[in-house]
């Protein structure tokens, strides 16, 4: 499904501060995988997502999605195959547009944005039904500008929008980190439902170890640009939050903290 082959990435290249992050990094994501990626700050989690989405290009190596080399494809072209939800709830929606307008734009994804009428009134009921599934009362606020909704509500909408049109891969970039515990729980439930109902392949970065163990079928722990733990299926199910914490502690001791 998705393959990262021999990826090399460094920051501040050619200066004294040069920092090599990925050296010969490889990752294979299988169709239907729901992968949770955990790891300390600076371990390369977000860089990995940025490489997949095209925000960053690797120094060398290749990224292959569904047998197609996408390494040189700009971010906006990759969006045809990839949906992404960000940590910042503001990033996934347009705050000055109404809920309906956001839906209308996302509904037209991968089609031509020409001079046709933007809002198709016949689709409003469909949008409302999607919003009703969030259980946040959003279906009655379809004409509200997104900017006046709460972070949790915005993130729910961002998630629905990202999954509304068919994507091969859903990228979740710490998408519950900016929310309160209750909202985070709701969004995680919604994510789970969306991924399983649509049979999506998803890669989720999270700092919430419980989410990482409770959801998904595979877990990867990153450290210093390497995947130091990669467990799937029954092995992953057996993994507890305390086990992960244990590994985290080992790493910190290694680093001299």
């Amino acid at each position: 499904m998705l393959k990262l082959n021999n990826i090399y990435t460094s920051f501040a290249k050619g200066t004294v501060d040069e920092m090599k992050l990925f050296e010969d990094f490889n990752l294979t994501v299988n169709k239907g995988d729901f992968i949770s990626i955990v790891g300390s700050n600076g371990s390369g989690k977000t860089t990995l997502l940025n490489l997949i989405c095209g925000t960053l290009t690797p120094d060398s190596g290749s990224i292959v999605l569904k047998d197609k080399d996408i390494t040189a494809l700009p971010e906006y072209k990759r969006s045809r195959y990839i949906g992404r939800v960000f940590q910042d709830p503001k990033a996934g929606t347009c705050s000055e547009l109404t809920v309906l307008e956001n839906f209308a734009l996302a509904d037209n994804k991968n089609k031509c944005y020409a001079l046709g009428r933007a809002i198709n009134k016949k689709r409003i009921d469909y949008y409302k039904s999607l919003l009703a599934e969030c259980n946040m009362g959003l279906e009655d606020r379809i004409n509200t500008p997104i900017g006046s909704l709460s972070g949790g509500q915005r993130q729910a909408i961002a998630l629905v929008l990202a999954g509304m049109t068919k994507v091969d891969l859903l990228i979740l970039d710490e998408h519950t980190a900016a929310l309160d515990p209750k909202a985070a729980e709701t969004i995680m439930e919604l994510t789970h439902r969306l991924v399983s109902e649509k049979g999506l392949t998803a890669v989720m970065v999270t700092h919430n170890l419980r989410f990482a163990t409770d959801y998904g079928n595979r877990i990867i722990m990153m450290h210093g640009g390497r995947a130091i733990l990669d467990k799937a299926g029954a092995e992953k199910d057996a993994l507890q939050v305390t086990d992960l914490l244990g590994i985290f502690n080992e790493i910190s001791i290694e680093c001299g903290n």
Binding site: Y76, C94, E96, A104, N108, L115, A118, I119
Partner: protein, 317 residues
């Protein structure tokens, strides 16, 4: 009667500049792009229109070509920004500087076939030059209204019609998929990228529209100046932005009014202010200084109003 004359002047100017200001609504308010290109494209529109009528061609066709020429140079600014990564302000300065030559050579080449621009640099409309006035509804509307202080009624109606048509077209455009995408581009580029669209393309389209409107504005202005001179574009950034910001801050809270209507009213109010200042007996050499001062006042007031409402986007320059 003297008051009527003043009202007529600011209505005329207000309607002309309302089109410029609507262009700024697209580039500045929607796209958040401070576009200086209009100093050049405003004059380009006037030159293109002037050449059409000076050569006896259809003035309405001239107006459309003026719009297109503005769009083209607006798109150049957009390309410089999007493809070469040059900062917005610099893009505008570069293109408007280049346009000084284009406008100068355009006039001499169009009038006398002189590409060295050594003959004349102005176009003056004579009595027999057929402008929009001579191609509008025959004699249905009198050229001047004698009973009411001899105000040029037909010209006012033409300006009103052109401005309202521009407004309606813009309103319609903003309701299309492409128009909504433009609004999304100014608001959240990341969101546009996630839709699989290059936000740069929207920016180029927006700048093309903004400058097309500026060019139409310049083309209309030739009617009140009876021709084209090379200094016509000076100060257009200030007029356009001031009109826009007056309109959007004064009527900011009025819900039922379309933003384009607010901008049009803003342009008329700004011109009314200028006429009042002139009536106080200040010499015309002080005009531009007064324009800048009024604009500064509006910016400061607009900034305060915006801060109260939580946002500052429209108040910064």
């Amino acid at each position: 009667m003297e008051i009527l004359g003043s009202v007529e002047v600011f209505l005329e100017m207000g309607l002309i500049f309302s089109i410029l200001a609507m262009g700024y609504y697209v580039s500045y308010t929607i796209l958040d792009f401070p576009d200086l290109t209009v100093e050049g494209t405003y004059l380009t529109g006037a030159v293109v229109f002037g050449l059409f009528v000076a050569n006896g061609l259809n003035p309405w066709l001239g107006l459309i070509c003026a719009f297109v020429s503005g769009c083209i140079f607006g798109a150049v600014t957009g390309l410089l920004h999007v493809k070469l990564g040059i900062r917005p302000l610099l893009c505008g300065i570069l293109v408007s500087t280049g346009l000084i030559t284009v406008n100068l050579v355009g006039v001499t080449a169009g009038l006398a076939g002189d590409f060295k621009a050594e003959t004349t640099s102005i176009i003056s409309f004579g009595r027999d030059t057929a402008t929009l006035q001579d191609a509008f509804l025959g004699d249905l509307i009198p050229i001047r209204l004698k009973s009411l202080g001899n105000i040029p009624l037909r010209m006012l109606v033409i300006f009103l019609v052109v401005a309202v048509v521009c407004k309606i077209l813009l309103d319609l455009y903003l309701k299309t998929k492409n128009g909504l995408l433009l609004r999304a581009t100014g608001n959240n580029q990341q969101f546009v990228k996630m839709l699989g669209v290059d936000p740069g393309r929207s920016k180029i389209i927006g700048l093309a529209i903004g400058n097309g409107f500026a060019a139409v504005s310049g083309a209309l202005y030739t009617h009140t100046a009876d021709g084209v001179n090379q200094s016509m574009g000076i100060g257009m950034v200030v007029i356009g932005l001031a009109s826009l910001i007056i309109g959007t801050s004064l009527f900011g809270k009025v819900k039922f009014m379309a933003p384009t209507t607010k901008v049009m009213l803003g342009a008329i109010i700004y011109q009314a202010c200028l006429v009042v200042v002139q009536k106080l007996g200040i010499p015309s050499a002080y005009n531009k200084l007064i324009m800048a001062v009024i604009f500064t006042l509006v910016l400061v007031l607009g900034f305060k109003a915006k801060r109260k409402n939580g946002g500052v986007k429209n108040a910064k320059a």
